[in-house]
């Protein structure tokens, strides 16, 4: 177990160092976030938008920024032909776990930024911040878990650019429907007990996707 954790940490730190030096994902994601938030701001104008609609807009921003960035983690390894060296040095599960954690950190930073900008430019009213952040975090973990394995699958395909939204939409649909509803209710300030069903679905979805990913990834990665 200690060996596993060591190698996961090394893969994660390698990705952090690579990203800080190349800005392969960060720059494009930051621009995407700024452009998306600006468009939302221009579209809203002086209108008073209901919180339900703002929740939908928030998740549109999160989903598309994730689709722009998370897919790159494995595509970059294939395009630069560095995957062979990685395959010869670490087990598939270690590589998957390292990249999953890197994607989680990246997405949490990005979504924090999206949320701050979103609150600043709209009059988004969060009545139960603790529950709201909890739901948003759970949704993010599910989104990243599913996106990471999809990114690994599309990195082997020829048409990498177009495949991510096509593959991810049906897989992420149950998660998105649940998390949008839960976020809407959390922002409206209801008691945690009232969205326990949604929270259970989010946790179950994440556990199932991570388990399936760990089983599937060696086949995707090694052939």
């Amino acid at each position: 177990m200690k060996d596993f954790i060591n190698n996961v940490r090394i893969v994660f730190l390698k990705d952090v160092r690579s990203e800080l030096r190349t800005r392969y994902v960060i720059n494009s994601l930051l621009m995407f976030v700024l452009v998306t938030i600006s468009i939302i701001r221009f579209a809203i104008g002086d209108e008073k938008i209901e919180d339900e609609i703002l929740t939908g807009l928030l998740w549109i921003s999160i989903f598309f920024s994730a689709s722009g960035g998370l897919a790159r983690t494995f595509v970059k390894e294939e395009e630069k032909e560095t995957s062979a060296a990685l395959k010869l040095s670490a087990s598939p599960t270690e590589i998957f776990a390292g990249k999953l954690i890197f994607n989680l950190v990246l997405t949490f930073i990005l979504n924090f930024l999206i949320l701050i900008l979103f609150i600043l430019i709209t009059e988004y009213n969060i009545k139960n911040p603790v529950l709201f952040i909890s739901v948003l975090s759970l949704g993010n973990v599910g989104l990243v878990a599913a996106s990471t394995i999809i990114a690994a699958i599309i990195s082997k395909a020829n048409s990498k650019g177009t495949l991510y939204p096509v593959l991810s939409f049906p897989v992420l649909l149950p998660l998105l429907l649940t998390v949008i509803n839960a976020t809407k209710l959390a922002s409206a300030g209801i008691n945690p007990g009232e969205i326990m069903g949604e929270i259970q679905i989010l946790v179950s979805y994440t556990v199932v996707v991570i388990t399936a990913s760990v089983l599937l990834f060696p086949f995707v990665w090694e052939d």
């Binding site: 190698n7 090394i10 160092r17 030096r21 630069k80 560095t82 395959k87």
Partner: protein
């Protein structure tokens, strides 16, 4: 004394219904070497990828035996070095950082011996450029770094796919010295059509003889 053997059992590979090779059997013991030859596109690199575990064969199996015990997949990685045109290291890392990264991963403990890594860089003539990001390297220098990468943990099996690519005279001499040393201490497999490499090895595997 440690014994080590590499055994190919009835390997075959098909792509889109087309047989690349079939019925490939060989056994190499410590102190032996093989060269894989064949025309361009005949499947030399495919066979190298299968031996290294990068891809799976359509049928058959590769076995790695150390001290009469068959090694599991994860343990083969620490016993194998690989140089190939389709294996690149990270451009955004320095030569030393690349070796530290892969040495730490292969050791599975997160540790590496910096002095040893520096000695590999010295061996391939890259010590003075060890702290440069390798995106600034020429193709020959990158090839030398791949050779240093292949030597991590002194592999029992060293595999070299077209090892002379992009190398100058000094680089070729380094390759020849490493190959001679590997023949004494472990197993060497080279995929090439270069006449000098053909002379280096004991066993010749011609892919053309294994097409159905």
């Amino acid at each position: 004394m440690t014994s080590f053997s590499v055994i190919s059992e009835d390997l075959s590979k098909k792509y889109s219904g087309k047989t690349i090779f079939a019925g490939l059997n060989f056994k190499l013991n410590k102190g032996e070497s093989a060269v894989i030859t064949g025309r361009n596109g005949s499947g030399k690199s495919t066979l190298m990828k299968i031996i290294s575990g990068l891809i799976s064969p359509s049928t058959g199996k590769m076995k790695f035996i150390k001290n009469e015990v068959e090694l599991e997949k994860d343990f083969i990685k620490t016993n194998m070095g690989f140089v190939s045109p389709y294996l690149n290291l990270y451009d955004e890392l320095t030569a030393l950082e690349n070796l530290r990264l892969f040495s730490a991963l292969k050791s599975r403990s997160g540790n590496y011996d910096d002095e040893k890594l520096k000695s590999y860089l010295q061996l391939v003539g890259l010590y003075d450029r060890r702290n440069d990001e390798i995106k600034a390297y020429s193709s020959g220098m990158k090839q030398k770094l791949k050779i240093a990468f292949s030597l991590l943990h002194e592999p029992a099996l060293l595999m070299m796919d077209e090892p002379r690519s992009n190398l100058d005279r000094d680089g070729i001499s380094i390759i020849e010295n490493i190959a001679m040393k590997q023949k004494e201490n472990g197993i060497l497999i080279i995929a090439t059509n270069d006449e000098d490499d053909l002379k280096l090895c004991d066993l010749k595997i011609n892919i053309e003889d294994h097409k159905k």
